[in-house]
């Protein structure tokens, strides 16, 4: 039985899709069968970030409406043979989604895969509610700024009231990823520290990802940053994927500016 994880944020543009792509690939790199599903019906992006846009033939709506079979619609990644992708429809909108169809699709995916990662649309509309409806766990992606935190807080509130697991009396596991951390800005107090964010949201931290200029190029190239061994963000995603696969990976501190030679000397005499 696979694990269904929804990647949510509330606010748009915080790095939800980038996170989904990198975590999906990271899980596959850990040897687990993983499928990433784009639930952002009408505004698909995940195919580009995974470098698969030229291979999309059938989408999730066609599978749900039985116009195509699941095996026809699933796209196997060239980067890792354990990673599969199911595209969102670009022409329809989210009103075509229905709980029964989604439930049926997820039951099928659970049989085939170890991890099913759902990329939720931004906002808290029906598309979002459908994404979280059958999830076992949710990864909440935030940026260290107040509007992202408040939107995430709202999204968690909806998750806690609308998910099927909660309606059945169970709980949805919630993990936090703090994305785009700028150590300098945190230290100068311009950016919220992760302790503050954890205080506000009251959920467990899964990982911190530093701001990395390489991500834009990686998205444009369709090569997730996790494949770049010299990228700090890529390494952070790698650690997060390993944690999701049950490994105990230590969490390096990203909010302290690494001092120069002089500062290190000063440190000795402190």
């Amino acid at each position: 039985m696979g694990n269904v994880i929804a990647v949510i944020s509330g606010k748009g543009g915080v790095g939800k899709t980038t996170t989904t792509a990198n975590i999906g690939l990271g899980i596959a790199m850990n040897g687990k069968r993983c499928v990433v599903v784009d639930f952002d019906i009408g505004q698909r992006n995940l195919d580009m970030i995974l470098g698969l846009e030229n291979r999309v033939v059938y989408d999730i709506i066609q599978v749900m409406d039985e116009e195509a079979t699941l095996s026809q619609a699933l796209i196997k990644s060239k980067m890792n043979d354990k990673l599969y992708f199911l595209a969102a429809s670009q022409t329809k909108d989210k009103t075509v989604l229905s709980s029964e169809k989604i439930s049926k699709l997820i039951v099928t995916l659970r049989e085939d895969f170890d991890y099913i990662i759902l990329d939720a649309p931004a906002g808290i509309e029906s598309g979002y509610e459908h994404t979280i409806e059958f999830a076992d766990a949710a990864i909440i992606v935030v940026n260290p700024e107040v509007s992202s935190i408040r939107d995430a807080d709202r999204a968690i509130g909806i998750l806690d009231s609308k998910s099927q697991r909660v309606k059945d009396g169970a709980e949805v596991a919630k993990y936090l990823i703090i994305n785009r951390i700028d150590a300098k800005m945190v230290q100068s107090g311009e950016m919220l520290s992760s302790d503050d964010i954890l205080d506000i949201l009251g959920i467990n931290l899964l990982g911190k990802v530093p701001e990395d200029r390489g991500i834009i190029d990686a998205s444009n190239q369709g090569k997730p940053i996790i494949l770049n061994p010299s990228s700090a963000a890529g390494q952070a995603y790698k650690r997060i994927a390993s944690r999701l696969c049950g490994e105990d990976v230590d969490m390096p501190e990203l909010e302290i500016v690494q001092g120069g030679f002089l500062q290190k000397i000063k440190g000795i005499f402190k």
């Binding site: 107040v146 935190i149 408040r150 939107d151 807080d153 709202r154 968690i156 509130g157 909806i158 806690d160 205080d199 506000i200 949201l201 009251g202």
Partner: protein
């Protein structure tokens, strides 16, 4: 100590004229021979001799405990009962406001939540930005408030960030005064008073 208790019939009289007294007790001797006679006034030797001769039981200038009549007693009980009822009602009214079905919550109040509580609320968690807490009774929040509060109780105790929107009895509380510490906010003589509970509050968890 040995005690005995009797119920005796008492006849009370005030002495004015010796002869009148003697003639009265002579004629009514049969009636009064088993009575305890309480005589007010000075006893002359003539009277003393008479009482001794007749073997009458008497007390001189003794003060008798005054019993009230049944009717007076009933009235008194009724008044007392009314008074207790009034006191009880006053207490009830007061306790209605002081502690009215207290709710204790330890859930994070997230953005978009709109919580309404009829009585008092003790909240052991945060009120996040974008959430609203509407409390008819008294309110205590042990962690930081960043959302909106509507409180109609006698008092509230909270620590609020400057971003929070705190309304106490339809008056917006200047929450710069509530920052960084636990404060007691109460309505007294038509004005809102804010007193810091302690400079630093550490809740033992």
């Amino acid at each position: 100590m040995r005690n005995k208790q009797y119920s005796v019939k008492v006849f009370e009289t005030t002495l004015t004229d010796d002869n009148q007294f003697i003639s009265f007790f002579n004629t009514n001797y049969k009636l009064f021979k088993d009575y305890l006679i309480v005589i007010h006034g000075d006893l002359s030797p003539q009277i003393l001799a008479f009482l001794q001769e007749k073997k009458l039981h008497y007390l001189n200038n003794a003060i008798l405990p005054k019993n009230q009549g049944r009717k007076a007693l009933e009235e008194q009980i009724a008044v007392q009962q009314e008074q207790t009822q009034q006191v009880e009602q006053e207490l009830l009214k007061l306790s209605d406001r002081l502690q009215n079905n207290l709710t204790v919550k330890d859930t994070l109040i997230r953005s978009g939540h709109d919580i309404k509580v009829d009585g008092d609320l003790l909240l052991l968690n945060r009120v996040n930005s974008g959430a609203t807490l509407h409390v008819e009774g008294n309110l205590i929040v042990t962690q930081l408030v960043e959302g909106a509060i509507r409180c109609y109780g006698n008092f509230m105790m909270l620590k609020a960030s400057p971003k929070a929107n705190i309304v106490f009895h339809d008056v917006i509380v200047d929450n710069v005064l509530l920052k960084e510490r636990l404060n007691r906010v109460e309505l007294k003589d038509n004005e809102i008073r804010i007193t810091p509970v302690l400079k630093e509050t550490t809740w033992v968890m």
